[in-house]
């Protein structure tokens, strides 16, 4: 299945791109497995926030075909 990944702010700089598409064969995919198995060799930076399909979630959130997963640092608007 395909997962669409987005990075914002300092996470974008750290990862070197704003978005990427990842083809995943694993059936019981979670955000944590996506990060560890397909995106980076290092642990997810402390305080990183995650959203799946524009809803905040945690690392155990299951993923499905076509999901949009975003990684970003603490928010600083207002």
């Amino acid at each position: 299945m395909q997962i669409n990944v987005k990075y914002f702010a300092s996470m974008r700089e750290r990862m070197g791109c704003a978005e990427q598409q990842v083809q995943v064969s694993e059936l019981s995919l979670t955000v944590e497995k996506l990060w560890q198995g397909y995106l980076a060799d290092v642990p997810l930076p402390v305080n990183t926030l995650v959203a799946v399909n524009m809803e905040y979630c945690d690392l155990t959130t299951p993923l499905g075909e076509g999901d949009e997963v975003a990684f970003f640092p603490p928010v600083t608007g207002g």
Binding site: K6, F8, A9, A51, A70, P74, V75, T76, G78
Partner: protein, 149 residues
């Protein structure tokens, strides 16, 4: 309860007046607004410009949720939120939160609730440019007087 993201400078006071023209005259008795403005200093350093980034789609959704939460919690009638993105210079408005209600208490409480929830949940990120270079703002200043969230 409109939520608007603006890539260019806006006049929060004119926007408030303009939106209010669409409300039924006599239906509200209190209007409270919060306007966040860019400083030329932060954490002891001078800041010349700031760049605000956001997550199109999710940001609007989160702010709409903040407004809805305030509406359910307080006796508000309506709200308007406008937030800047892009490059900003000192003294430019960053955010407007305006709340209309029958009485002042709900307007004050609703306005504070929305801005506090926005600052905590809406995906925006500030980077500051100054003499020391560019740096990401790590966290927002907490509201030490009251926690609505």
């Amino acid at each position: 309860m409109p939520v608007l993201i603006k890539p260019h400078r806006f006049d929060p006071y004119a926007a408030l007046v303009e939106y209010q023209k669409g409300l039924r005259a006599g239906s509200y008795g209190a209007v409270v607004s919060f306007v966040g403005v860019m400083r030329d200093f932060n954490q002891g350093g001078e800041v010349s410009t700031m760049t605000l980034e956001y997550y199109p789609g999710m940001t609007e959704k989160q702010i709409e949720r903040s407004c809805q939460m305030a509406l359910e919690k307080y006796s508000m009638d309506d709200a308007l939120v406008i937030h800047r993105v892009g490059e900003i210079t000192p003294d430019e408005p960053i955010v407007l939160v305006a709340v209309w209600s029958a009485h002042r208490s709900a307007a004050f409480d609703g306005c504070r609730c929305i801005i506090n929830d926005l600052k905590q949940h809406a995906p925006f990120w500030k980077s500051e440019q100054g003499q020391q270079g560019t740096r990401w703002v790590a966290t927002n200043t907490p509201d030490i007087t009251k926690d609505d969230t």
